[in-house]
């Protein structure tokens, strides 16, 4: 996919883009842009390898236009025109996705949804209605001011959007208590081909057939464009307890958390760092250095939280290390700078999140680390466990390396990913816990889903028979 600007613009088009543009400009007027700066800005998302290309002056792809809808009607018009003219459409939220899911591979039109940003709180129903383009920090700030929280804090809270969260099945750092976005979505509105606005109403529960809302959760823009969502909110927590522990082994820490959850306690934050990451993040805390560090936050109604804190303290086998490491984590949790520091000088660095049941958790950790390190050029590989369930755990791996002589950044990058995905599948894990599939992970999806892959493809084409919705993303 690495091409220069000129090469990208000369590539064959899909559908009748010229006619589509005339029609869209008539309907959406100045909400359509074909300015080169805009086309360039939507040529990538936060897929790491696209930045390596960018630094070399190569772009993965360029759209023919970008549109900025301001209403659902604008979105309906866009989907209708795209469907009629067979032109690809790529929904775009904050562009913080890390797998190339918004890269306009086949040219066509990127639909930036950030101008759909209205908000409304329903206090009695503990529910908020949000335009798909509402910024993450923005919705949380709006709710906090009124005494509520969403409880959804992905590390990309600041750059991502509500629609993007639902589309990628995102999860926040406080997930062990509040769940992933799938646990918060009550209803949604989406525009699907050939240009229909559908609504799945925000009932507390409904048994009207299979849960169609879930079809959109994690759909990454391949079925349609979400314009609005209804999400659960919670009262702002009354009390918060910060705890940390040093353990001798990863197994011991994992086992402690498993017992805590199986007793029914639900700490909001639980993060277990392997030895490397404990040293990396908590080097100032002697009691944690060289050990397995765990940070835990328990919060909510103060009586309930106190009881949960007691369970945590009773079940966690390790040496308590106090509140300070947790405070440090809270202070630094949005401090993202490694990519900016290392990528420009040719270091390939990325993260990979997978999930596995408790019974194979330690095995998966060992296997993936070993697999990544076995690739020539890898300099470090580490992980922390960041999201927890009664049944298992999410591991978040980080690797960094320098392509060996004769290998491009892309080749090295793919080799490490291949090794990690293979090890995950062989260890009984799932290849993605929350970043999704995008364009990068699509080559492993069929193996994970088996025959269900064909079901997914059929659903996609039943809704979007001309394959105009984010073509090439997730399914091929």
């Amino acid at each position: 996919m690495t091409l220069t600007f000129d090469e990208v613009l000369k590539r064959p088009k899909r559908g009748n883009i010229d006619e589509a543009l005339v029609e869209l400009k008539r309907l959406l007027k100045d909400k359509v842009s074909t300015k080169p700066a805009d086309l360039f800005s939507y040529s990538h998302d936060y897929w790491l390898i696209t930045f390596h290309w960018l630094l070399k002056g190569e772009v993965p792809a360029l759209p023919d236009a970008v549109i900025f809808p301001e209403s659902e009607e604008d979105v309906v018009n866009a989907v209708r025109v795209a469907h009629e003219k067979g032109v690809p459409l790529y929904p775009y939220g904050g562009g913080s996705g890390v797998l190339g899911a918004t890269v306009p591979e086949y040219g066509g039109i990127v639909v930036d949804l950030k101008r759909l940003r209205d908000l409304r709180l329903y206090e009695d129903d503990l529910m908020v209605e949000a335009g798909a383009g509402v910024n993450g920090y923005y919705i949380e700030e709006y709710l906090n001011r009124r005494g509520y929280t969403l409880g959804h804090f992905p590390q990309s809270l600041y750059p991502s959007t509500v629609g993007g969260w639902v589309a990628t099945k995102a999860i926040g750092q406080f997930s062990t208590r509040y769940g992933g976005i799938e646990d918060m979505v009550l209803g949604l509105r989406a525009v699907i081909p050939p240009g229909k606005l559908i609504e799945l109403k925000p009932h507390p529960r409904t048994a009207t057939g299979p849960d169609l809302r879930k079809l959109f959760v994690g759909s990454e823009g391949i079925f349609g464009i979400m314009t609005r969502v209804w999400l659960k909110v919670r009262p702002y927590p009354e009390e918060r307890f910060l705890l940390s522990f040093a353990s001798e082994s990863l197994e011991e820490a994992l086992d402690s958390v498993r017992r805590i959850l199986h007793r029914g306690a639900r700490p909001a934050v639980v993060r277990i760092y392997d030895r490397v990451e404990t040293k990396r993040h908590f080097y100032k805390f002697e009691e944690l250095y060289g050990k397995i560090g765990t940070v835990i936050i328990v919060e909510g109604d103060s009586r309930l939280a106190r009881a949960e804190k007691e369970i945590v303290e009773r079940e966690f086998r390790g040496v308590p290390a106090g509140e300070e490491p947790v405070r440090h984590w809270l202070k630094t949790r949005f401090n993202v700078k490694e990519i900016s520091e290392f990528a420009p000088i040719g270091v390939v660095i990325d993260t990979i999140e997978v999930a596995v049941n408790w019974s194979r958790a330690a095995e998966l950790y060992e296997n993936v680390i070993r697999a990544m390190k076995s690739v020539k050029g890898t300099l470090m590989a580490s992980a922390h466990a960041s999201h927890f369930y009664d049944q298992g755990v999410c591991f978040y791996f980080t690797f960094a390396g320098v392509p060996p002589k004769g290998r491009s950044a892309e080749e090295f990058y793919n080799a490490v990913w291949d090794a990690a995905m293979r090890a995950t599948l062989d260890s009984g894990g799932t290849i993605s816990h929350h970043h999704g599939i995008g364009r990068h992970r699509r080559r492993w999806l069929a193996e994970e889903l088996g025959d269900a892959y064909e079901v997914l493809r059929k659903i996609k084409l039943a809704i979007d028979e001309k394959d105009v919705m984010n073509p090439g993303n997730m399914v091929m």
Binding site: F5, K35, P36, A37, D38, F40, S41, Y42, Y46, F51, L54, L55, G57, V66, F68, Y92, G94, G95, S96, K114, R115, R117, G133, N135, G136, Y137, Y138, Y142, R145, Y158, P159, V276, K279, R280, Y283, K284, E286, Y289, F334, N335, V336, K337, I339, S340, E341, F342, A343, P344, I345, G346, V347, G377, L379, M380, S382, A400, G401, V402, P403, P404
Partner: protein
């Protein structure tokens, strides 16, 4: 205590140092580093939520990292230096609300400035800015009006600034009244602009020219202290002039800073609720984030309601957006009004541009000077 990078040394190990590890260690030791614009361009926009343009316009191209990417591409000559491509760079309010969220503490406005300077040097300038440059060149006033006021003399010089002189002359009167009540015999002179609009628009040469002219006048007035209504003027005098080697003899204070020193001695009473709008130049660039609120806290009986967001530009900062994209500036102002309405319908601020931008639409915005005068009179 172990060092920040010890984990990396342990992990990479000696054998790997012979291969790619060397590269990483050079970064760690500060011997190898990308330039700041590149670093910003490679960020996932972790400050996007704090950027008023980003929130309101919602366009990737004008997000903070988006601007850095465009600037980088222009600098590297991968995209052309033309008005179309420059437009995103001028869609910056210069508020630096991005800076506190940046792990490197970058100011995006500063990072992209060299590209703007290059554009001005090459004569690639928006029509909308030419008038500003001409006005500053000929009359020394952004609006093109020559200040025909007489030159006074004394210890305290009150510098009104272009906006107050042209748009809010009553505020100048009231500020002089307040200063008098506080025991300062302030005087004014026929003014020229501080030069900030030229600086903001990338015309650094013109900025230096205007600034030198203004500094000469101010120095010649013989005052010991300059008090300004406009935090931007105070910032320019205090921060930019020294940066460009322009010497201003008197000390410079924004009116709120002077008030901060004396307000404890005043008897101020109120029975109402207000919220406050912190001007970016005061709160961020002069580092006086809590000052406006603390002045209000001296008013007995006053209920101070927090705005939904403490800091958010009024949309008229940076000189460019309101000229190039007035609808966007107005949209940002409308968004700010909405946030302020979460607090109270009466808003106290400390910048004439913010006041003008935010007043109306069910919101009464009042300068701190006028507000305190009212409270003193009652």
């Amino acid at each position: 205590m172990p060092g920040k990078w010890d984990w990396l040394k342990d992990e990479i190990g000696f054998s790997n140092l012979l291969t790619g590890g060397r590269m990483i260690f050079k970064v760690v030791q500060g011997k190898l580093s990308a330039d700041d614009l590149t670093k910003c361009a490679l960020c996932s926009n972790m400050c996007r939520h704090a950027c008023p343009v980003s929130i309101v316009e919602g366009r990737e191209t004008t997000s903070p990292a988006g601007k850095a990417r465009i600037a980088l591409m222009i600098r590297e000559e991968r995209i052309e230096l033309n008005l179309d491509n420059l437009e995103p760079l001028y869609t910056c309010l210069g508020c630096d609300l991005c800076t506190p969220y940046c792990p490197f503490e970058f100011s995006v406005a500063d990072l992209i400035r060299p590209v703007k300077e290059e554009a001005v040097n090459m004569g690639v300038v928006f029509e909308e800015f030419r008038e500003v440059f001409e006005n500053l060149e000929t009359s020394g006033d952004v609006y093109g009006n020559t200040d025909s006021g007489a030159d006074g003399s004394g210890k305290v010089l009150y510098f009104r600034g272009c906006t107050v002189r042209n748009e809010r002359p009553e505020l100048a009167e009231k500020t002089l009244t307040l200063l008098e009540k506080l025991g300062y015999e302030a005087f004014t002179i026929s003014e020229t602009c501080c030069g900030l609009p030229a600086y903001n628009l990338g015309n650094t040469e013109l900025f230096k020219k205007v600034a030198k002219r203004t500094a000469e006048r101010l120095n010649a007035a013989g005052a010991e202290l300059i008090v300004t209504s406009c935090p931007s003027c105070a910032y320019t005098f205090r921060v930019l002039y020294p940066k460009y080697g322009i010497k201003l003899k008197p000390q410079v204070l924004h009116i709120t800073e002077l008030l901060g020193e004396v307000i404890g001695g005043l008897k101020l009473k109120a029975a109402e609720a207000v919220t406050y709008h912190n001007p970016c130049k005061l709160a961020v660039h002069l580092g006086r984030r809590g000052l406006l609120k603390s002045l209000l806290e001296n008013v007995e009986g006053l209920e101070i309601r927090e705005p939904r967001r403490e800091l958010f530009c009024c949309g008229h900062g940076g000189s460019a957006v309101s000229r190039l994209k007035p609808e966007l500036a107005e949209e940002i102002a409308a968004e700010r009004r909405e946030q302020l309405r979460d607090g109270a319908a009466r808003v106290v601020t400390a910048c004439p541009s913010c006041e003008l931008a935010l007043n109306g639409d069910g919101l009464e915005v009042i300068d701190i000077v006028e507000f305190l005068l009212e409270r003193m009179e009652e």
